[in-house]
Each structure stands twice: as structure tokens, then as C-alpha cells.
Symmetry: C2
Subunit: 246 residues, 2 copies
DNA sequence: GACGTTTAATTGTCTGACAAATGAAAATTG
DNA sequence: CAATTTTCATTTGTCAGACAATTAAACGTC
């Protein structure tokens, strides 16, 4: 990759792209050390601050890690699911909030995705997954729980459901989608009755997975999706009514 | 957010986090201008290069955009699906290649996700989506097509299938997963006979969606998933056999 | 050989400077 | 006055050089 000083694009962006391309093409392998900042500056014929800006861009994407000291430098980072997961959640959350995605759209996507892994979860769930799901359902039944804590537990429940599919790729994709919905869910006030309904369905889902009954689990997820959306709609209706009065 | 000069973490990373938190919390709104680099440097009590490194980190995540000139500066960027999509593909691709995710795992995830949106696609597909899918299936039947072009067309076909669900959140999540699989798919050599089978199924999928027949579309996706995986397995077996001889 | 000490390499940060872009204000011109 | 050109201030982009902090390896010393 050549660097064009007359390009409209930042030099640091061009350098970052060149290195990123090298990583994606496999020219730069995992844990391989990049040349020092001074050497990179000489190679690309730019100053060290410019090189540093490029490296920070890559670090922001977890593509490299840096270490100080004699044997330090920048190393190609093995991208782990956990790191990628965090970025995925951040991006997804902002996408939803900045593009005024409706609750219905996000909800539809979320439950469609969860239904996709339910059959696999029914087949592969371990006792651990079931225990987590039952524990979260139990927590959700506690009377004093705040709405935020209820939503957080809801995320944990569905996270366990997704992880039970035992497919890291699915977990990565889905957990991001589910967690990104939490800010939207947090806007819902859960009444005692609606909580009861949700906990009931959660418990039945855990039972269905326990029995490796994929069809029932699927039907329950459909019910949960419909119930969640009706809940959101009634709240939106109330809010709009309150607005109309003003 | 306070900046701790004695922290183990880079100052630029801390500053980036502070600004990112502001964006996610809504304190900084879309299209709002951040203070100039000089002002930020004074506010955080660091030098301008440090501030710049922080801004480059945010730019790498498409959270801000910068503009030169008198009325220029750094602005909170409205994160669009297209930008986020590109990053998602990059991350997913690297995740698969760096964590030695098996073809079977990736394939399972991909088809599980596609099946999730097939019912929605059957319901909402437009004539445009059907035309794209049929055009790609037709291209895939051309004799002179290279393996890479065949795979690219395959991605385009499935992209149309996903987009037909008319849910941007689903499209964002799924298209990343599908496209990230392409490098793995590219390793498969498609014989004339296997291409014929795939094109046949693709055509039938388009027909099923045309008839709004979700059940048939789902069954076809299952068939396609099974066929793809058997194809991959036979190729892996051949490769291992060749290795054993050596 | 075990244990401090020095040293070299490398990133992290700062200072100061200049170039380039860009819009707004001021000056000029018809 | 209106239109155009010029000037100018602001801001990011880039550079050069310096010093601090960190780290592991090399080196002595006992």
C-alpha cells in the first residue's frame, strides 16, 4: 500500500488502512511485532506523531496492542470474542439510538434472532445454562427489583439462552443485538402483572429447553415477543395520550 | 469523567472514553461540535497531540468526523448502517480467521440466522428483491464464472434474501455474518455439479419467496445448509487424505 | 550462580512551529 | 448598492525535537 501525501484523506488514516489491510490479508500475523514507531515513520516517510495517530486508530479497533519498554512495540492482536463483543454492543446501541429505530423493529429483530438459536439451545443446553436461566427468572420474581435491574436480569437470561446454543459466532452476533436493545427496554415501566407474565414465560422456556423441546421453546419465544411488543405499544399509546392533553 | 495521569491506561484512551461516554449518554448530541483541539487540551490538561490521538480513536469507530477550516472541528457523527456495516464485516472476518472457527460452526450460525429472517422475507419481499435473487442465481449458472465470482454472487443472493425482510437491524446483523464467511467459502472449489445443485436451490428459494411460502423457503435453507456443509466436509476429507500421503 | 545495577530500546507525553483549508469579514469595484 | 475579490482569523494536519516512564536484557559484583 502506497501513501499519497496529496490525497484528500489523512495520512494517518491511509497508514492505518495499509496496516489493517496487511492484517486482514494475513501478511501480518497474530502476535507479530510491527516495526517501531520511528521505523514506521521512516518507511512511510511521515513524522512519528502521524504514525502514532494511525496506531491509535488500529488500537481503537483492537487490531493491535502496544507495550512499552525495551522489547515493547505494537503487536497484531488476536481479536477475541469478548473485545469484539464490547465494540459490537457500543456500535449497535448507537445505531439504534441515532437512527430512531422503532421499538417494534428492534424487538422483531431480537426475537427473530433468538428463535434462530433456540433449536440449537434446546439440543445442547447444559445444566449450567439451565441453572443460570432459572436463577435469573427467580431474581426477576423478587418484589423489590428496580426496572433497570429487571431489564439487566432479562438480558442475562437471554444471554444464557443464546450461549446455550454453544456456537460462539451466534453468541457474538446475538448478544450484541440483545444487549443493544436494553436502553429501549429500560424505557418500559414494568408493572407487577407484566413482570409476572414475563417470569412465567421465562420459566416455561427454561423448562422447554430442559426437556429439549425445541417446538415449545419456539412457541414461547413467539408469545414473549408478542407480549413485549403489546406492552411497548400500550406504553407508547399512554405517552402519546399524555402528550395530546398538554 | 475525570482524567487520571497516574492511571495505567493511556491518557488518549481515557479521553476517548470520556467523550464516547458523553456521546452514548446523549450529553453530546448528533452533529454537535466538540471544543477545538486546543480547548480540549486545556480542559483535560494534556497536550494537543494527546487530544488528537483520542480523537483519532473515536474517528476510527466513526463516532466523530473532523473538518478543517474556520468553522471546522470535530463533530459527533450520525452513525449510519453502511459505516457500521463495514466495521462489522471487518471485525467478524478477523474474528473467524483469528480464532480458527471451524467451517461447520460458521456455517451453522449463518444458516440459523438466515432462517430467522426467511419468514419475514417471504412476507415482505418486493419484486426488486426477487429480481435481484433471480439475477444472481442466473449469474451463478454461467459456465465461465470463477470460484471467487461465484462466492461473491452467492453473498449478493443471500444479501437480497436478508434485505427482503425489510428490517435494517436484521440486515445489519446478518449481512455482516454472511459476508464474513466469504473467505471461508472461497476456500471451497465448486465443481460444475455442486454449482448446479446450489443454483437449483437458490432458484427454488426465490420461487418460494415469490409464493410467500415461508415453510418451503425454510426447508430449502435447511437443505442448502446441509449441502454446503457436506461439500465442505468432503473437501476437508480430501485435503486431509492428501496430507496423510505426504 | 544469585542478585543488584546499568543500559539501550521503545512507547507516552509535551512544546512549539508551520502548512493547508475554509468560511467570514473587509475591502474593492462596477 | 450589489457583486466580487481580498484579507484574515480559526482550526485541523503535519512536522521536528525533546524528555519521561517503562521494560527487558546485558553487565558486574558478591
Amino acid at each position: 500500500m502506497k501513501i499519497d501525501p496529496d490525497s484528500k484523506i489523512d495520512l494517518s488514516a491511509q497508514i492505518a488502512k495499509a496496516i489493517r489491510d496487511g492484517i486482514m490479508a494475513g501478511t501480518l500475523r497474530v502476535d507479530e511485532r510491527l516495526p517501531s514507531e520511528a521505523e514506521l515513520a521512516e518507511q512511510f516517510d511521515v513524522s512519528r506523531p502521524t504514525v502514532r495517530e494511525a496506531l491509535k486508530r488500529l488500537a481503537a479497533q483492537s487490531l493491535i496492542r502496544t507495550q512499552r519498554g525495551a522489547t515493547g512495540g505494537a503487536f497484531v492482536n488476536r481479536l477475541r470474542f469478548e473485545e469484539a463483543y464490547g465494540q459490537h454492543v457500543t456500535t449497535s446501541t448507537l445505531l439504534l439510538s441515532m437512527n430512531s429505530v422503532s421499538f417494534a423493529t428492534a424487538c422483531e429483530a431480537r426475537y427473530a434472532l433468538e428463535r434462530a438459536c433456540a433449536p440449537l439451545s434446546a439440543q445442547r443446553r447444559t445444566a449450567d445454562h439451565l441453572a443460570t436461566m432459572r436463577a435469573e427468572a427467580h431474581r426477576q420474581a423478587q418484589p423489590g427489583l428496580s426496572d433497570e435491574a429487571f431489564c439487566a436480569s432479562d438480558v442475562a437470561f437471554h444471554r444464557a439462552l443464546v450461549d446455550a446454543a454453544d456456537n460462539p459466532v451466534l453468541s457474538y452476533q446475538l448478544a450484541g443485538a440483545v444487549e443493544a436493545m436494553q436502553p429501549l427496554m429500560n424505557m418500559i415501566t414494568f408493572t407487577a402483572r407484566s413482570r409476572e407474565t414475563i417470569v412465567q414465560i421465562h420459566t416455561e422456556i427454561a423448562d422447554a429447553l430442559g426437556a429439549k423441546d425445541a417446538a415449545t421453546a419456539d412457541a414461547l419465544l413467539v408469545r414473549l415477543a408478542e407480549y413485549t411488543e403489546s406492552l411497548a405499544q400500550s406504553i407508547i399509546a399512554k405517552r402519546d395520550a399524555a402528550k395530546a392533553i398538554r
